[in-house]
Symmetry: C2
Subunit: 361 residues, 2 copies
């Protein structure tokens, strides 16, 4: 636990990632997109979806499980719907191309929907709704992913952790950004508790006999439970219907594991919907109402353990602002993995600092 | 608790409800719609949203808080988006009219979206996605409602319980129907525990000082918490952005209470999206994939306490099939309230049986 943390300039990490992905034949623009997206996750405090994942994406590129130069094909079943075949390209590139299409349709028709098949793992789901926010749009991003938890009542993995993302541009107090996985807790946290020999609360996981357990090791060998019990499970079902069944992608447990199955592309599915906020009133009225909603929520009397009421996305945007100043903290094990990965691609990891850039002398 | 249960024929209850609502000047067709919807909720086992609510809707009609003969105005900001002003009509009538519009647009363009303002409480949210399923459509129904729980970190009510509904037509194993309230538990269950002097689990509610509590009475005097903790809270925020902020309806705690505020119409907002399932593949392929998804889920190895894996909506559709045979069970207090309400409208409550219609001799 005393592993030192290294602070990297965000831009330097973007450049590093870009060069690494270029070494695997991603076009320069696509390589930069992926690198920027990973660093965006690190900035927002989501280290699990940040540069720590460069090695796994490289491994999949080496295995041929990600196509570095996809021919992303877009057809239009109707004027307001696009169907995208991602050609097994990296999910970030496919995802941004798809949301751009949804935004373009919505700009003209008020709403645009894009179904995507043959994509791959696309990282932090917030990326795509933030893209829509930048275009002044409300949006929803559905995805599926490899099995990470059972259907309700089951004891073997079926649904993905499959994050749901929803975004709505805000005004003065900031944007609304929802990005939530279907599992009640990340698997990494169960592993950490197991390694420390600590118990976990009931309701997080089942053991491999399908029994509720507080034993972290038994939980790690078993399955995670959905957030919110049967309600979260029902939402996980929706994620796979929308992203998998409907779009033509893999579904019902078929999406290949990012980490453990290199036998071929994942065939991940996504479904994006972009919506213009000025359909039912002028844009400024919408913005004023968002401000009012957020300000009312934040001004409410607080619960006993709450210092400040934050809206969805606000903690992450604050972290991003802080890390833009401090640099991105990277643990030693991740830094070593990046050095090794860079070496394979003949790219040197940039210099880091032992302290935050904005720390006093 | 020994209150006897009376069994009513569903058709007879529909007729009763229709006549009662006609007495409050609802057109015959609209009165029948509301009555059928309430009985549909009873059939599905959702007694809280069934005929037990006839008196409260009548009270709001008497108070002028529901307009019995609304002029529902539909405009089209774009070819694929409709804006509906419900003119304070009863939510059931406004809701079905709105989903019909979404379905009609989706039939032509693949997706249709309808934003509704100046509606009122619309009952069981599943009604509207089941309407879309009957038309062969996938759909989402967002609504807001009067404050029933705090924003995350608050201790006073802000968000509504506001159910999210999502539907997708299935094949052999049945349809997917999600209908879930944002609160972790219904307020009535807290009240019941309080009346029995029983404790409640942590995580359901805060006391009126904003402290977590297991004291049911303190919880009843305090506030409910969202399902799934901060994740459910973030979804509740979305419900109000989509249904309230975006559509032009009341939002951010402004929707008037169904039970406690008769000072005027509620100005509830809804947002409906209907989607044709045959956009990315032929309809039969979609149906086959839904079947496969559902059958895979149901065939999975089961958790220790699970006899059968059921998909979202399956328990309710089984209950509906059983109650079509047994009749609808109505508790004595509700039956008495219906007799009183009927008397005001000069409509007699139909005969009931003391045992299920399909009970043996």
């Amino acid at each position: 636990m005393a592993e030192p943390v290294h602070y990297f300039a965000p831009d330097a990490l973007v450049q590093f990632g870009t060069e690494v992905f270029k070494a695997y034949r991603l076009p320069a623009e696509d390589a930069a997109t992926v690198a920027r997206d990973l660093v965006a996750a690190d900035l927002r405090g989501l280290a699990s979806h940040g540069v720590a994942r460069i090695p796994i994406y490289c491994k999949r590129l080496r295995a041929g499980a990600i196509n570095p130069t996809p021919n992303i094909a877009i057809t239009h079943p109707t004027a307001v719907v696009a169907a995208i075949d991602g050609d097994d390209g990296i999910g970030f590139v496919v995802g941004h191309r798809a949301m751009a299409e949804a935004i373009e349709i919505a700009a003209q028709f008020g709403i645009g929907m894009v179904g995507i098949r043959r994509s791959t793992h696309y990282g932090m789901a917030a990326l795509y709704v933030m893209q829509a926010i930048d275009a002044g749009m409300v949006s929803m991003a559905f995805t599926n992913s490899s099995p990470a938890m059972p259907a309700w009542g089951g004891r073997t993995n079926f649904h993905g952790a499959a994050p749901l993302a929803v975004g709505a541009p805000g005004g003065r107090p900031g944007d609304y950004v929802l990005d939530l996985a279907m599992t009640v807790i990340a698997r990494g946290k169960i592993r950490l508790a197991a390694s420390r020999g600590e118990p976990i609360p009931l309701g997080l996981a089942l053991d491999n006999e399908g029994r509720p357990t507080t034993d972290a090791q038994a939980a790690f060998e078993g399955v995670l439970l959905p957030f919110g019990g049967v309600k979260g499970s029902a939402i996980a079902f929706m994620m796979d219907i929308f992203s998998g069944v409907l779009t033509g992608a893999a579904f019902g447990g078929e999406v290949k594991s990012l980490y453990f199955d290199f036998s071929g592309p994942q065939n991940v599915g996504h479904l994006f919907i972009a919506i213009r906020p000025d359909l039912f009133m002028p844009m400024q009225a919408y913005r004023d109402r968002m401000d009012e909603m957020i300000e009312r929520a934040k001004a409410a009397p607080r619960a006993a353990d709450c210092d400040e009421i934050l809206i969805p996305g606000e903690p992450e945007s604050r972290t991003a602002a802080a890390r833009a100043r401090s640099g991105i903290p990277v643990t030693g094990d991740v830094a070593r993995a990046l050095i090794d990965e860079g070496a394979q691609a003949k790219v040197a990891l940039p210099a880091s600092a032992a302290r935050p850039f904005d720390a006093g002398a």
